[in-house]
Amino acid sequence: MEYIILISGFLLVLIGLWGILSQKNLIKIILGFTVFNTGINIVMVTVGYVKGKTAPILDVISPEEALTSIVDPVPQALVLTAIVIGLGVTALMLVYALKLYQDKKTLDINNFKDLKW
Amino acid sequence: MDYSITKFLWTLLGLFIVLNWGMLMSSTMRRIGARVSGRFGIPWYQPWIDLTKLYSLKSQVSHGAMFFLGPVFRLMGGVGIFLFLPIIYGSDHWSNYSFSGDLILILYFQFFGMLGMALGAGEGGHPHSAIGISRGLSQFTTIEVPMTLAVISLAIQYQTLSISDIVAAQQGGFTTWTLWTNPLATAAGMLSLLGAFGHSPFNLVKAPNEIPIGPPTEYHGVFLGVLRTNGAILHVAEAALFMNLFFGGATNWVELIVKTFLIYFWSVFVGTVFPRFRIEQSVRWFLKVPTIIGIIAIIIFL
């Protein structure tokens, strides 16, 4: 089970990268990033999975049983942070794309080569 | 070193002999040259007449101090070579101030006169002076190449740079002359000598016909007299140098006179046979045959 999720996580990473590297439209590239980030988040959560265990919330489980009944809470906490960071970056990218569009009236990535060499 | 007055007088006497022999030699050579071209030529005493005339001319023109000093330098060059040359082998009286005759000193002392002459003529401001000097210097750089090689070859051969020692090593008969013991060095040296004496084909420097003016005209009267004096001394002195290096030196004046005459004659002989080179031709020529001979002269000792 966790293998499938892990594989799909990696696949999402690759698909996201494909989008980033091959798409010409800036918005699509940014979408590529969100796919990429999602893939990474999935991978992270999966890594913290312990076979047959449940979420690390001690509402029904008593703290004493916690060790034997929950999955690793650390990757989840990390993912939480990672998601928010990804969100911040995506928001910034969108704004930059917006400004680039306003500047050149296009979103084609090949048009932003003012700086080179 | 002996600085006594007797030594000085002996040297002065030697200089006097050399001067007269030089003049006689040059008139003889001119006569030979004239006879070859079917002319009668000058009388043998013509140089003395010329010299007397020049020294007694009154009208003199000077372009300045260096112009005036030029001939002095020039004469000093000739006299200096004489002074530093042991002219008769084994004779205290005729070894002058040579302290065993350092070859390098003599080779470099040649420049003394040349430089002075060049500067003096330069101040004259005549374009041909500068042209002549530039040609002379150009040619001279390459004349010296085979000469240097020959000298090095001799130095290797005799392991000395002292002329007296070189002559000493050649004593013992005709066959011990460098001419036979080191023919290649001799060849290089004698080819170089052609340039040094400045006869045809290497006389573009003086260019006696095409350029009738230049230093010889700028320098006139006493100046020219001094130059002529030097010419006479220099020719004998240089011939004596080659004699010492390649032909066993001279143990008495007769031997000296014969040998220097023949050496001098060699350059005149070539001069009457060959036409004149342009400057780049002579430069190239010296860098070819004589230089290669000189190089081989060294290689055989390696």
Partner: protein, 235 residues
């Protein structure tokens, strides 16, 4: 085309790398490492039923502070970016008429959304969720409002004030942690309370409230600024 092939090649290379990770991954049979420590001691030390919250807010509080900072930064950057070229001529976007359904529904749903958001962050130490989730939910409410009324102007001042004050409060609680408890961002400056109840886990609920407010305000701020900029008329 060559470029595409190159990309495919590169992704294959990456896939090769991921494959390496995959085959050496065996899945976890038991909880080990840090996780086991938190499982054993988290409840006792921090007092939060939601162990993820315990980690996020306390054990790794500095990360969270950084995370908040990132959003804050994004908002700040977007703020000064979008006001940079006021003089530039921006084409007004044709505002489409919003559908009746959306307008009406938003009036009903938005308060509920806000409420849910608040609930989520207040209960962050007990149930799945927390400040970020709650804040995001609140921001989605704002987004809905904007969708319903694209010309709506979100007061920058109010949002910014909420944002800043909650931020300062977060830092202040952190510093109080040094003064009153074991270190920066230590939640034990307040009593841990009874495990599993609302008023438990020390300062975590308090921090989550501020985080929730702050995230909500920041995201709203971002959305609002972008929207405002899009609607800007040429002056």
């Amino acid at each position: 085309m060559i470029k595409k092939l190159l990309i495919v090649g590169l992704l294959t290379g990456l896939a090769f790398m991921f494959y390496g990770l995959l085959i050496s991954y065996n899945g976890n049979e038991t909880l080990t490492g840090l996780g086991s420590y938190y499982a054993q001691n988290g409840a006792r030390e921090v007092g939060a039923a939601n162990l993820v919250s315990a980690i996020v807010v306390t054990y790794r509080g500095l990360d969270t502070l950084g995370e908040v900072t990132i959003l804050f930064l994004a908002a700040a950057i977007i703020g000064f970016v979008l006001k940079l070229k006021k003089d530039e001529v921006v084409e007004a976007r044709p505002v489409r008429e919003t559908s009746e359904l959306l307008t009406s529904a938003s009036q009903v749903i938005v308060p509920v959304i806000f409420l849910v958001g608040v609930y989520i962050f207040i209960n962050g130490h007990l149930t799945p969720g927390g400040g970020f989730q709650g804040g995001a939910v609140i921001a989605s409410g704002v987004l809905l409002m904007l969708l319903a009324n694209p010309t709506m102007h979100i007061s920058h001042n109010i949002v910014a004030t909420i944002e800043s004050i909650s931020g300062i409060a977060f830092v202040a609680i952190g510093i109080l942690g040094i003064v009153l408890a074991g270190g920066f961002l230590d939640n034990r400056l307040l009593p841990l309370g009874e495990f599993g109840t609302l008023l438990s886990a020390g300062a975590i609920p308090l921090i989550y409230i501020f985080i929730g407010l702050k995230v909500g305000a920041e995201l709203s701020n971002i959305i609002g600024t972008i929207s405002y900029n899009q609607n800007e008329k040429p002056n």
